[in-house]
Amino acid sequence: MMTDLARKALKHAGLVLLALVMLYPVLWMVVSSLRPDNEIFRRPGLILDSLQTHNYGEGWTALASPFGHYLANSAILVLACIIGNLVSCSMAAYAFARLEFTGKRLWFAIMLGTLMLPIHVIIVPQYILFSQLDWVNTFLPLVVPKFLATDAFFVFLMVQFIRGLPRELDEAARIDGAGHPRIFLRIILPLMLPALATTVIFTFIWTWNDFFSQLIYLTDPEMYTVPVALRSFVDATVSTSWGSMFAMSVVSLAPVFLAFLVGQRYLIRGIATTGGK
């Protein structure tokens, strides 16, 4: 069975090579951020002669505020969005999965429809609404929708999860005299922790990376989040330091990478059961 073994080895070699090609640009960016500026345009390899961290210091202070300010803004925004999604999407999901009510099929179909709704179609009236409320340059236009269960992806994810929980548990609690709020809080929520974890991680990564709505609503440099700050960096340093821009790009990707390492299991399960982005 030599040919079989050879074929297997060849397959693995091919896969490893492909993985390397795919991840190479990112690895190269990390390495390049630790090199002097002039080497970025000359050295395609990954070997470092010396470890230079000055790009990080320069990048950190290159904009109006230290980069930590933007990281903090993004962290606050992400945290608020996570709380909003957890609360509002789990409530909606409980209703769709466990309650019977008038027009349920229609509402559920509408909810699934909004899953595919492009944000660009609603952004203009939304912007007009929020600017009339004087919410532009606050985090409210980005956070409030999350408290209103507008991320249908998570509602659907949780509906699927709750449907998989045995109904006998609810029935038993109901016989003991528990109402819906109690069943939801005491029985369903604790059992749906995996779905909640998936929600936390996806909300984290998507909000952290989201550029379009943050670009539109946050125009005051004080309020900049990481993506908007990084983009203003690109415009400010067209011909100058790629090194410091790479350094801050690496800083901005690090939390996503960490979330990926910690939450891989939930990400892959979530995307496999609902087919995310």
Partner: protein, 309 residues
């Protein structure tokens, strides 16, 4: 099952659970945030943007009705026509390539391959990073005149060019970026493959069917709903591409409007020029185009998607 499967089942009227006691009051309380979101954040603005499409509005003066002016203007708007072309090329080229890569890799990784978890992670990671500004910054460098791609080409004695500054290749670099994020559909394919019972293959083997026949007669039909699902979602997703074109072109859609995605043009009209009436009309056209693509997909599904329920 996926959201699309759910919708299709509802359309055919075979899903849903009715009967039993109704809990309208409790349901209303639990759905209150969602109803408010529907009213103010999603459905309400759809209606509002439809109405605004028939007005002239700059955010300072109140909107004034201008009938069909915005739509007439679209007919003569050369930049819009260009943006439509750019976006269509992007969708039609990058989505099939991305899904082909996803399916090929999913098939290679299926069935007890050693190191599956490692490969899956390595291929999935780019789809988490791909939509970030940081990766767009990186793309700007690697496809620039002195970028990584040309440095590697130089090692083979090939002289490259400024891939992003050349209008004939700029869009190509963004297509490459979208194909690079094939990991997410790949994970969905892998989950779908795992649901095909092994005994089908075993039975086919005993009947003397070769690998290729098994692939054509078992894998492809049983995976077709997942292919359909990925196709619909990725097309909708690709129509909305924005960040990468914005960062790579510095917000202009250049060079020579070659990366002017529809969404980027909409952003320029609405949020750089505050031409809110026209931007609303553009938004509605986008919705109609995406809905048309989705409807065609659903219609065409009758001919190639196999449902076993």
């Amino acid at each position: 099952m996926s959201a699309l499967g759910e919708l299709q089942r509802m359309r055919r009227g075979s899903g849903g659970t009715l009967g039993g006691k109704r809990d309208n009051k409790a349901a209303f309380v639990f759905l209150l945030p969602w109803f408010a979101g529907l009213l103010f954040i999603t459905a309400g603005p759809i209606v509002a943007s439809f109405l605004l499409g028939f007005t002239d509005y700059n955010l300072i003066q109140p909107p004034t009705l201008n009938g069909l002016d915005n739509f007439v203007r679209m007919l003569g708007d050369a930049r819009l026509h260009n943006a439509l072309g750019v976006t269509l090329i992007y969708v039609v080229v990058s989505v099939p390539l991305q899904l082909a890569a996803a399916l090929a890799l999913a098939l290679l990784l299926d069935r007890g391959l050693r190191g599956l978890a490692f490969y899956r992670s390595a291929f999935y990671l780019p789809s988490l990073l791909g939509s970030s500004v940081a990766i767009a910054v990186l793309w700007r460098q690697i496809f620039g005149a002195d970028g990584l791609v040309n440095q590697v080409l130089a090692m083979f004695g090939i002289e490259g060019k400024g891939w992003i500054s050349d209008p004939s290749t700029a869009l190509g670099t963004l297509i490459v970026l979208n194909v690079w994020t094939f990991g997410a559909p790949m994970v969905i394919f892998l989950a779908g493959l795992r649901q095909i019972p092994v005994m089908y293959y075993e039975a086919a083997s005993t009947d003397g069917a070769g690998k290729w026949t098994q692939f054509r007669k078992i894998t492809i039909p049983l995976l077709s709903p997942i292919v359909f699902f990925n196709l619909v979602l990725q097309i909708i997703h690709a129509f909305q591409a924005f960040t990468q074109a914005f960062v790579v072109s510095g917000g202009s859609g250049g060079p020579s409007d070659s990366t002017l995605f529809y969404t980027l043009y909409l952003y320029q009209r609405g949020f750089a020029n505050f031409d809110m009436g026209y931007a609303s009309a553009l938004a509605w056209l986008l919705l109609v185009i995406i809905a048309a693509f989705t409807a065609i997909n659903f219609w065409a599904a009758k001919f190639w998607v196999v449902y076993d329920d």
